[in-house]
Symmetry: C2
Subunit: 359 residues, 2 copies
């Protein structure tokens, strides 16, 4: 397992081909998943370790990816905090009692994830037991800002205005909220590692709405605390979207691997992140709707942008979109493996070829 | 007029203080505007040169900004193309017959803006006549990608998936669409200049959904054609959001001033854009909801990031949000003037101060 291609890439060690997995690789785009969801509501699925493990493993087998990610939702951790989280059938998650003040922050219930979300750890255990021994399992959590934005907005948002007003108007309550979220995320992530996850990803999906200055003022210290508290020896992927201007801040915050979305060239992103980190990304999920030749062209471009040094994990820049044709996802994984293995061969050949004097 | 502070900054000439104007400075946040809109529907307002000019001028007088921008909508240009554009009262703009194919592109009606939207040119003429002689008037147009995204999605969008599918699946039709849009934008922009605008802004508000590679493949040649065709001698502002990874592409496309949103530090952005251009931005519009002390701190930060060289126009990173307190907008404009004039004085003082040997 230690030598799994995905884990080698996390450690920036050479690999025979570029490892690939895809955010939301188990999801609505997949007929098997939709069939299951016709019988089982989303939250029931998340809370049934056997089913969550099954969905996790099936996606890997269907796609031939190099890592599994536990089937769960970043909001599961918020439900036991007493804010009235509901997953409605159509409208997505809704929080009935969003945070409006410091007093609301103080009222948040704070219990150990082992008590509140034991089903996630059990799903990790079962998925690990079912997965092939060479396939690493990724655990995950939402990052503090992204979780806070749900708690304050009460759902998804366009401008994150309530979140920013909260942050600007009552920085003391904001920092208290960050402290609390870090205190619950740490045991949640470490619990998944203890249960059998070989890597973890922190999803800061909505952090890209912040200016770098606000990131440094309102987030960076908490992110550093969080990264320092994650069990050492386990690679941590630090992911966000719309972060082309935040990559330096994110790298400073922490993470062995920095997730990059498609809004920046991957080579430029890697330079900003620093070559002492691995990178993950960064195909636009919309390209999975393109004709095969265009998909191939874009995969080649992403691979080329990362070529020349170890430490690239291929992924999309965000999750697979609903209605994505499954056959294109399968083709993408094959292309990444095939084209990167050829590239690796070419690079090896180039390395072995006699070099001209002075070159 | 030639020496107006805003125009000097566009040309990167020293100014006694940093000029400031604000996107959507005439809009829903302003009580005078809301009062007018209770009597007059949005489209009627856009098509009434006297009212559009009045709204344009009132905002300048209310706020004390250094430039006016003509009151109009980027979609006005699409209405005469025959796609069934409607501005509904609540849901925003809707296009009844969105583009689905190359044949749809061929069917687009293409007439000279002087025939289709003469009211915009007349509004420019009237606003120019009413404005104080030292206040430049900015004309504007949507840029090709942003206009195309409305034509294809039929409205606003989250993932721009229909637009990207169109682009990937039928690049020939896509390029034909870009050609057509450039052909109509050029006389629209030049017509506003001829009618009395001292500068123009191209709004590519949604271009940030593209990867830099897609920008180069599907957009860059058309943008270059567009910029080359704009009447020389008039400063052009090239604006987009979520463009931290696209700034180099945008600068290559063209523009004397590059608009920058808040998702990147302004000094980092200017470096990527190149110091041979002016920059405009980049306060997060949400900061206008912050307490006065936080607003002041953030204004100081933006000014400091641009300090040391001429060519900064202060603005938000995107339009003023609805419900923004007017008094905070007024305070912002005062702060920019006051703090940048002090900074300019300090800089002048520092320049004039005796320097130590060897420094």
């Amino acid at each position: 397992m230690k030598d799994a291609v995905f884990l080698r890439a996390c450690r920036r060690e050479p690999t025979p081909y570029t490892p690939v997995w895809l955010m939301r690789q188990a999801g609505r785009y997949m007929p098997e998943y939709r069939a299951l969801r016709e019988r089982v509501p989303f939250l029931t699925l998340c809370k049934s370790p056997e089913l969550a493990a099954q969905v996790t493993v099936e996606a890997v087998e269907r796609l031939g990816v190099d890592a599994a990610i536990i089937f769960a939702d970043i909001l599961l951790l918020l439900e036991p905090m007493g804010v009235g989280l509901e997953f409605s059938a159509s409208d997505g998650p809704v929080i009935r009692r969003p945070l409006r003040s410091g007093a609301d922050v103080d009222r948040l219930q704070e219990n150990h994830p082992a008590e509140t979300v034991p089903f996630v750890f059990e799903a990790v255990r079962r998925a690990r037991a079912s997965l092939a021994s060479h396939i690493p399992l990724i655990g995950f959590s939402g990052a503090p800002f992204t979780l806070a934005s749900y708690l304050i907005e009460g759902g998804s948002s366009r401008h994150y205005l309530a979140t920013k007003r909260f942050m600007y108007t009552d920085p003391g309550a904001w920092h208290a909220l960050m402290d609390r979220l870090v205190r619950v995320i740490v045991p949640y992530v470490n619990g998944q590692i203890a249960a059998g996850a070989q890597a973890v990803q922190l999803f800061d999906s909505w952090v890209g709405c912040l200016s770098p200055a606000d990131y440094r003022t309102f987030l960076l210290p908490h992110m550093k605390t969080l990264f320092r508290a994650i069990a050492p020896g386990t690679p941590v992927i630090h992911f966000g979207t719309e972060t082309a201007g935040l990559l330096e801040c994110m790298a400073e915050a922490g993470g062995d691997v920095i997730g990059v979305d498609w809004r920046i060239d991957l080579d430029a992103a890697w330079q900003r992140v620093g070559f002492d980190r691995a990178v993950q990304g960064n195909l636009d999920p919309a390209v999975l709707f393109a004709p095969r030749a265009e998909l191939r062209r874009q995969v080649a471009r992403v691979l080329a942008a990362a070529a020349g040094r170890p430490g690239h994990i291929f992924n999309l820049g965000h999750g697979i979109l609903p209605h994505t044709p499954v056959e294109n996802v399968v083709a993408l994984v094959e292309m990444v493996h095939e084209m990167s293995a050829q590239g690796a061969t070419h690079q090896a050949a180039a390395r072995d070829a006699p070099r001209e004097e002075g070159s």
